[in-house]
Amino acid sequence: MTEPGQAKDFLSQMILIREFETIAEGLTLRGKVPGGMHNSSGQEAVAVGVMAALKDEDAIASTHRSHHHSIARGMSTQSMMAELFTKSTGCSRGRGGSMHLVDLSRNYFGGNGIVGAGVSIAMGLALGIHILKKNSIAVGFMGDGAINTGRTWESINMAVIWNLPLLIVIDNNQYAVETFMDRVTGGKDFVARAKSFGMSAEVIDGQNVEEVYEATARARERILAGEGPQLINAVTYRYFGHNVGEVGKYRTQEEISDWKSNKDPIDNWISNLLAKKMITEDEISEIRENAKLEIGKAVEFAEASPFPDTNTVADDVDSGSLLRQL
């Protein structure tokens, strides 16, 4: 059982993510986020549970839907919001936008605009850990849609044959844009598919932050014990459209409200903590208040920050290192 301090941290982080996404969604609709964004509301427990079980030295690569991963990894919400606004103070200096949040100082190697690319890069991070003889693991996030990219399975095969310290987390919100996973996934069973590649895998409730945390901690231990790459299929749900502003007919209102009212990761965690008397209503209000304050500040910071200087547009395409006479 999670101890009280950590239990509250889980809650604070999930609420912070929800607040970030709610505010960012509104700002996107008001035209503040060039190119739009992918909202992760509903998927908070996956990010928070996984990141809580990782260590600073572990290396992570993410996807196009990565605000929740970024916040749970401890990234500054100011540099994230500024990046959404494409400001020069953003974590990618306004060059990446919402899909390319990054924090190298946290071994967080960035979001990705290409489906399946992040998880493959995580395999490379795992190889790097192996080659450089580090005592850590690499984590690659992917969506249910990425399960059908060829690069994913080429990477998994390599991780298995080389016994790499790789954890793959499927942030499985069950839809890829407007396509339900079962319609496009042969065998329909991600875990069975991973196992057939010689990889340990399990399916978990991605709405239960504690379950996600424990599964990740277990997987991490197994990897460090040399048991090879592991896969966690965390079943979750995305509350909003694929991109901000999209409403489709591909899923029913009943399905959406069922997930929101009965399986919400934040509400369920609160009920759990209240039942166990691990938190008070006052503490919950304070957590919510703090989240509002923090995200409010992030927006202020983003608003006040300058756009990138267009004179820098051609900087850093390469470093010039090869031009030097050695």
């Binding site: 494409t86 990446g96 396509t179 496009v184 051609a314």
Partner: protein, 322 residues
């Protein structure tokens, strides 16, 4: 004539041909419910059913490979990648397979790969100008239409042909309206058109840049300069007959697009004009293009990376100084 959007023009040509030829089918992600990311096949799944408007997993290399195989067997597949940026994941299938099948095996390969490209928002991994890369590959033909009319006409030709086509549509033109022709109008590859007539300076361009060039041409009238804008419509093959004829007639030429100048289509055209017409030109051939940078998420960085109307005007004034 009917006026429709650029996306609807694609749909119109596709519908007409699908009604005539049962071997035509389309595959890609999110085509059925969503109608594609650019509404390019909206409603066609209801009309033609899920066998002919097929939803795929996110498996670009398998999609193109499926296109190669089924085309060799006589079907007419259209692989819709939505964004051209996802073609990177299928480059072997496009360049090593589709492009070389006829040369190696003598087989027909009526395969169309459609995608939306060009520079807009969405950041570095969703903004690439690929046309020079594809045009450089022997075996591939590359359509880059500007008007709805040409979208439809070039698509219809592609669907009657027996060779692989890379069909590039520009993001910023998705909702742009224009006339389209009826059932029987087919536009051949390698035939340019004059978008605006002029006599002092010739701009050779294609795709969305036709719009920017035309604006510049309009603005230059106030300076008493008459600018001709040529819309290539396809960048492989290039209508060199028309390019060289007009270049010779006018004598001052600018070649323009929004791809990085280094290694671009504009370099290919400018060098050909210079080689063939050196002595009859009144000025060196100038080029307009993008900086050699990835496209940032920030809109100001985007604008700083690619040419705008003022850059066109400056180039026009400059070519007149010689």
């Amino acid at each position: 004539m009917t006026v429709v959007t650029y996306s609807e023009a694609w749909r119109s040509g596709l519908r007409e041909e699908m009604n005539k030829d049962a071997s035509i089918f389309v595959m890609g992600t999110d085509l059925q419910e969503r109608g594609g990311h650019f509404s390019q096949v909206k409603g066609l799944a209801e009309e033609f059913g899920p066998e002919r408007i097929r939803d795929t997993p996110i498996s670009e290399s398998a999609m193109v490979a499926a296109g190669v195989g089924s085309a060799m067997l006589g079907a007419r597949p259209i692989i819709d990648l939505n964004f051209m940026d996802f073609a990177y994941g299928a480059m072997d299938e496009i360049i090593n397979q589709a492009a070389k099948i006829r040369y190696m095996f003598g087989a027909d390969l009526p395969l169309i790969i459609r995608a939306t490209a060009g520079i807009a928002l969405f950041g570095p991994q969703h903004n690439n100008s690929f046309e020079s890369l594809f045009a450089a590959i022997p075996g591939l033909s590359v359509a880059v239409p500007y008007r709805p009319y040409d979208v439809k006409g070039l698509l219809k030709t592609s669907l009657r042909g027996s060779d692989p086509v890379i069909f590039i549509m520009h993001k910023k033109l998705t909702g742009a309206k224009g006339e389209i022709a009826g059932e029987d109008v087919f536009i051949p590859f390698g035939k340019a058109r004059i978008a605006a007539e002029g006599s002092d300076v010739l701009i050779v361009t294609y795709g969305y840049s036709v719009e920017v060039a035309s604006k510049a041409a309009e603005l230059m009238k106030t300076e008493g300069v008459s600018v001709e804008v040529m819309d290539l419509r396809t960048v492989y093959p290039i209508d060199y007959e028309m390019v060289l004829q007009r270049a010779q007639d006018i004598g001052r030429v600018i070649v323009a697009d929004e791809a990085p100048l280094f290694g671009s289509i504009t370099g290919e055209i400018a060098s050909t004009i210079s080689e063939k017409l050196h002595s009859s030109l009144k000025a060196p051939v100038l080029r307009i293009g993008a900086k050699r940078v990835p496209i940032g998420a920030n809109p100001q960085l985007v604008s700083a990376s690619i040419p705008n109307v003022e850059d066109y005007q400056a180039a026009i004034r400059k070519v007149l100084t010689f």
